[in-house]
Amino acid sequence: MTAPVAAPPAPTRTRVSAWAGNPWAGFLFRRLGRLLVSLAVLVTLAFGMIHLIPGDPVRAALGVTAPPDLVDARREALGLNDPLGTQFVNYVRALFSGDLGVSMTSGVPVSDTIGQRLPATASLAIVAFVVVMLAAIPLGLAMAVLTRGGRRRGAELGFTSTSAVVAAIPEFLLAVGLVFVFGVSLGWLPVAGRGGGSSYVLPVLALSLGPALLMARIVRVEALAVMDEDFVRTARAKRLPPLRVYVRHVFPNALTSTLTIGGLLLSGMIVGTVLVENVFAWPGMGMTIVSSILAKDYPVVQGIVLVYGAAVLLVNLVVDVLLAVADPRSTIREG
């Protein structure tokens, strides 16, 4: 006897009833609505960042020795003397025309800097993500099959402890270790800058090793949990060959969490590039944001935070849509 618990209806529910005819339309409508709200919050925060800084950001950027009239002129140029509301409207309006402002230190438009730096960061994150998925899913499934029902305790212990240790090492320390081994000691691979394929090896390895092992662990745990489900027992009762049981019955049902974690990892890796880029002097946005924070070049920081944030939100959107497609019960689509 189970009555449905009074689930808090999503705020957009009442409007959704108009879309009731098509669950997909309703889902996309709601999901895009959420994306817009998130983007609005992101933009507001990026805008607010410069105003949340204690003291005068321009004074901070130009230094205490800068003449007051220069500071004031710069404030005027940045529009910081306008009322807050006007500033926000101007900021959003500029955003829509692709104008992210101008660097305080170099005077170069922020959008130019980002346009120049984005490809390096994006290529690094995407290559690393592909490596993670290609390595982690087969590894995790294989380990699940090998260690099911308490089999091969040694292999299980080895895998879980190795992966726990390696996954806990942050990417920048791994990067330093890789630089030492493959760059300094062995001298096999370049350790700085972005060039041909070989320059990708160490940064991608540093960025993907931890997430790959983490992902493999999660895939294994999920697959093991699915193997305990009643319907896998049903599949065994049908006397299906083990391979078919794993491929048809276990893996598709472990997919949901794999996708969810995959999305989280990709988000993490996009931002994780900041550290790795700084180790390998990789000419991406990560190098730029750090130097801009140190130089208090706030418009650049604002712009890059926006790009990272928007990328993360997009990844989340894609993951949610994939989940809705993959899950026939469509719990996500239902809201």
Binding site: I53, F231, K238, R239, V290, Y298, V305
Partner: protein
Amino acid sequence: MGREQWRAALRNPVGAVAAGLLVLLAILAIVAPILWGDAAEETDPAALSQGSTSEHPLGTDALGRDILLRVLVATRYSLGLALLATAICVTAGVVLGVLPAVLGRRAGRLVTAAVNLAVAFPGLLLALFFAVIFGVGARGAVLAIALAGAPSFARLVQTNVAAVAGRDYVAAARVAGVGRFRLIARHLLPNIGEPLVVNATVMAGTALLSFAGLSFLGLGVQPPAYDWGRLLGEGLDRIYINPAAALAPGVAVVVAGLAFTLLGESIAQVVGVRAVRRRRAPETEPAMTAAAAEPDGDAVLAADDLRVAFPARDGGWTHPVDGVSLTVRRGETVGIVGESGSGKSLTALAVAQLAPDAAHVTAGRLEVAGVAPLGRTGAEVRDLLGTRVAMVFQDPMTSFNPSMRVGRQLAEVTRVHERQGKRAALARAVDRLRTVRVPAPERRAHQYPHEFSGGMRQRAMIAMGLMSTPELIIADEPTTALDVTVQRQVLRLLKDVQAETGAAVVLISHDIAVVAQLCERVVVMYAGRVVEELPVGRLGAAAHPYTRALLASVPDLATDRDRPLATIAGRPPDPADRPEGCAFAPRCDFADDACRVRPGLSAVAPDQRAACWHPRSRPLDLTLDAVTGGQA
């Protein structure tokens, strides 16, 4: 978590090493700055940027300061800042996480939505954002890391609080008039303590590593102060000259971070369920029931002294099924009745070669559909048993693959075992769905299991067993999850199927009335053994006190409402802790010294056998007329 569990966490080698490392680090954090604080600041113009020497084992930095000493002294600052950040983060997280439970519905939802939005962003991005606001430096970094971690911690608290808040005991406390704050203090927080401790420990490790990251980027600790991250950043510039200058602080960070993380994980492991360890097979005692089941050429199932053992906590084995003998003839319907823990379901799974991986199945003899499966490989069993044994499980909700259409799940049987094409197999699936009276079978075959109601799913499960011609259908509590009206339909369907296919049916149920309706013969199990087997018509003359008590204690529509129900004192024994001799003796009114020896099944009447030293012979006076009237 109890003291026992902490101890268990430390007994785990990983946990012990991690805890040891943390103690070492704590001592170092206290002692190092006192002993070497000044020496680490001492500049040596004669030894600038040196590599390893006898005087400076890890070399010196650009100002000629000893790197080993600086790494050791930095322990206090690095750990202190990380712990401070963790403390702030955990506090903020708990407050944010509990807030929705304290605030009204609307405000609570707003907090949850804000946390959900923040969680979508990786911690490092949040940390960078806060680092800009709070400024570059140790104070800013502590706040940045704490606030960046707070959303995910808050979410953790929220999910745990929500899980606990949904439990009946919280509802019961609310009904009893317990106030909101007492509810949180007495019921919510104590019950989410374990995951919080574990995650706070892991969080400390994460904070340490994040701090090193920020310092490494130059956004954290500023000179002249130094922590491991700062030392690492400085060392990296000269990694070609003196690798140790970069590696030493790096190793320190990794070791300290891992110590926290691994301690958290080993606590989590102890708190959670321990994996079952495989052990050497248990030694089986020889069968006590000498000639239990006479060999029967007509048997579709013959089991003799069937035992199923699981590894026990203490290193021994428990036997949830402890010497069961069972014969089912072709076309017969046999009911196995017992309470939870009687071993009835496990008996069925063991017979069908579907017992869990950790189980160890032995038997004096086991033949299923003419096949002796024990000792054969999985592939052989699959080949030989094929589709001869069909299973119907208890919960039709969970027994279908949720991500596969029902028709395909049925067709799969034919495709694999008869190598039929997709189309032919699906056509047969539709036909079988029609046989079990699933309405609109063509359309239904294309639906997913969640689109079926419970009763329809159980019909589809029976249809799955009919994809070829089974000799034996084992139905394990097939109607327990269903409503009575649906239960009747499913039981009738089983009866029809049995009549049409001539397959033998084994129906397992806790409800003796259900069994009596469908079956010809009843096998009563208690504590892993068969205590009585008898034809349904003789239920009124049940001989075993347990069978009689079961019959008398369950009210039916004819029970006398003016008299108290018959009851059985005590509860069924735990499989790990069964009494010697007759397992029912402690609850039995007729037990005496003789019952200290385990009774074997012996005939008390033609076709009726009971495992009891004191079988009853007086007819039962419950709703006796009904029992004998209908079935005799």
